[in-house]
């Protein structure tokens, strides 16, 4: 904690990393869902 | 050679027919002369009122001149195409004339309209606004001529797009502005140079930009017009 209080730049880094990982997980799950829907629509037709 | 020549002559006749059709319609209704003339008078008087006798810098006045011309073009130059759609004559025209002849006919009409508008605006502007002094007349005339040609060239193709999109008013300046911005920035800068007094050599870069802009816009419009015009 003291280390972070002294080097505030690392706080920014952690926030940016958090945003990026959140976005990554979101895109990954979206990809999976779209693949599933594509499979379903191919089965139907 | 023979068929080519005959095609060329037929194309020229079609182009001038499209132009003359709009020209006669204009003479009959006098829409441009009345409405656009009043538009220019109104905007210039607004500028006069807002200046309130205060002297303004040549940069501001050069910019204002082109603001008037831009909005005058935006209110007048879409008419040639919108009219065809409104009257339902677009279909007939599609069948009777090649697309390129329609494009150049309309372009010619807008060029004439633009020349008239520019002449009226510049004369009124020079007479009514005191601070507006031109030191290099040759450069100024060249800039205004090329500027109004460029304005007409870009406005014509955007007018064709918005007439097809069935949205007459609001979208036209929105679509035209990014396309016209390079032209407007150049002419405003060149008008400022002309009012401060400049030589042809100093304004040479501006003229190169204006001429190449006009050539590029007219060529791409000519190539793309067919896609807009025929569905």
């Amino acid at each position: 904690m003291e280390f972070l209080a002294e080097h505030q730049l690392y706080i920014v880094m952690i926030i940016v990393l958090g945003i990026w990982l959140g976005l990554y997980v979101y895109l990954f799950r979206l990809d999976g869902r779209i693949s599933k829907l594509e499979k379903e629509s191919r089965h139907e037709s | 050679m023979q068929p080519d020549e005959r095609y060329g002559r037929r194309w020229l006749r079609a182009t001038s027919a499209v132009f003359l059709k709009d020209w006669h319609a204009e003479l009959r209704t006098r829409y441009a002369i009345n409405a656009l003339g009043m538009f220019v008078v109104t905007t210039i008087s607004i500028i006069l009122f807002s200046l309130g006798g205060e002297p303004a810098s040549p940069e501001v006045l050069a910019g204002m001149l082109w603001v008037v011309l831009f909005f005058a073009a935006m209110s007048g130059m879409s008419r040639t195409f919108v009219m065809e759609e409104e009257r339902g004559t677009a279909m007939t025209l599609q069948l009777q004339a090649p697309a390129s002849a329609v494009y150049f006919g309309k372009l010619l009409f807008n060029l004439v309209l633009g020349a008239g508008l520019t002449l009226l605006t510049v004369v009124l502007y020079a007479v009514l606004i005191e601070g507006f002094v031109i030191r290099s007349y040759g450069v100024f005339i060249g800039v205004v001529t090329l500027g109004s040609i460029g304005l007409a060239a870009a406005s014509t193709i955007i007018a064709a797009i918005i007439a097809r999109a069935n949205t007459k008013g609001t979208l036209y300046p929105v679509l035209s502005f990014p396309i016209l911005l390079p032209l407007l920035m150049t002419v405003i800068n060149a008008t400022r140079l002309a009012s401060e007094g400049t030589s042809w050599a100093d304004a040479g870069g501006e003229f190169q930009i204006l001429i190449s802009y006009i050539v590029v816009v007219v060529t791409t419009s000519y190539l793309l017009f067919e896609y807009i015009w025929k569905d």
Partner: protein, 232 residues
């Protein structure tokens, strides 16, 4: 699959490197960035701001290329691709404008001062805005596809004029612009040390991969949507 994993690792590493590596006046090792006078810690923006600006231009060109393909082949899928690319381009364009404005506030003193780069990104924003307002105004699909393709081509041929106009009208403040006192030429070439360049190009690649991924996702989703609509 491998590419997605690689993207995840790459951008994570880029973020860590961009923030964690110290900036010192005399870099001793490979893991220290040199100090650039006038930029100092603010130099770190280059790893994120420049890739977004680059993508907003690339997305526009992608959109135009698919627009041309639509006009040639009349395949609705190309229009879906074209509009998806433009949508992502708008997103990256807004990001580039916002990050640039924040940086400008602390480097130049105000959020916006009509520097040539700021003017050109503003024009790009306007074009994206005009493109989408044109699309939203037309209901017939084929007409919408044709007209928006034509518009993006016309916009693409007039925008390069700014390259010639800008230097005649104003001097730039942007790092790498003509008015920059420490020499002309893009920052990328002149002021970045080799290790900065590695991180920068890694970031550029990562952002491009991210764009490609988001682009394919949007296209696939739009395709599913049109399949469903076709079924009724």
């Amino acid at each position: 699959m491998i590419l997605k994993g690689a993207l995840g690792v790459l951008l994570t590493l880029v973020i860590i490197a961009a923030f964690a590596l110290p900036i010192t006046p005399q870099p001793q090792s490979w893991l220290e960035f040199p100090l650039i006078p006038g930029l100092e810690e603010k130099a770190r923006i280059i790893f994120f701001h420049v890739p977004t600006a680059w993508l907003s231009v690339m997305a526009f060109l992608t959109s135009m290329v698919f627009g041309i393909r639509y006009l040639r082949k009349r395949d609705m899928l190309d229009d879906i691709r074209s509009s998806s690319a433009a949508g992502l381009g708008l997103l990256f364009c807004i990001l580039a404008t916002a990050t640039g404005a924040v940086w400008a506030k602390f480097n130049w003193g105000s959020f916006w001062n009509w520097d040539p780069r700021e003017t050109s990104i503003f024009v790009l924003l306007l074009i994206y805005g005009a493109y989408f307002s044109l699309r939203s105004a037309i209901e017939v699909e084929e007409k919408r596809a044709t007209l928006s393709s034509v518009y993006s081509i016309i916009a693409a041929v007039t925008v390069p004029f700014f390259v010639f106009i800008m230097p005649r009208i104003m001097t730039g403040l942007h790092p790498g612009a003509k008015g920059d006192p420490d020499g002309a030429g893009p920052v990328i070439e002149f002021k970045m040390s080799p290790n900065m360049r590695v991180v920068f190009f890694a970031s550029l690649i990562a952002f491009t991969l991210l764009f490609v991924w988001m682009f394919t996702l949007r296209v696939r989703a739009a395709r599913l949507e049109s399949h469903l609509q076709a079924k009724g």
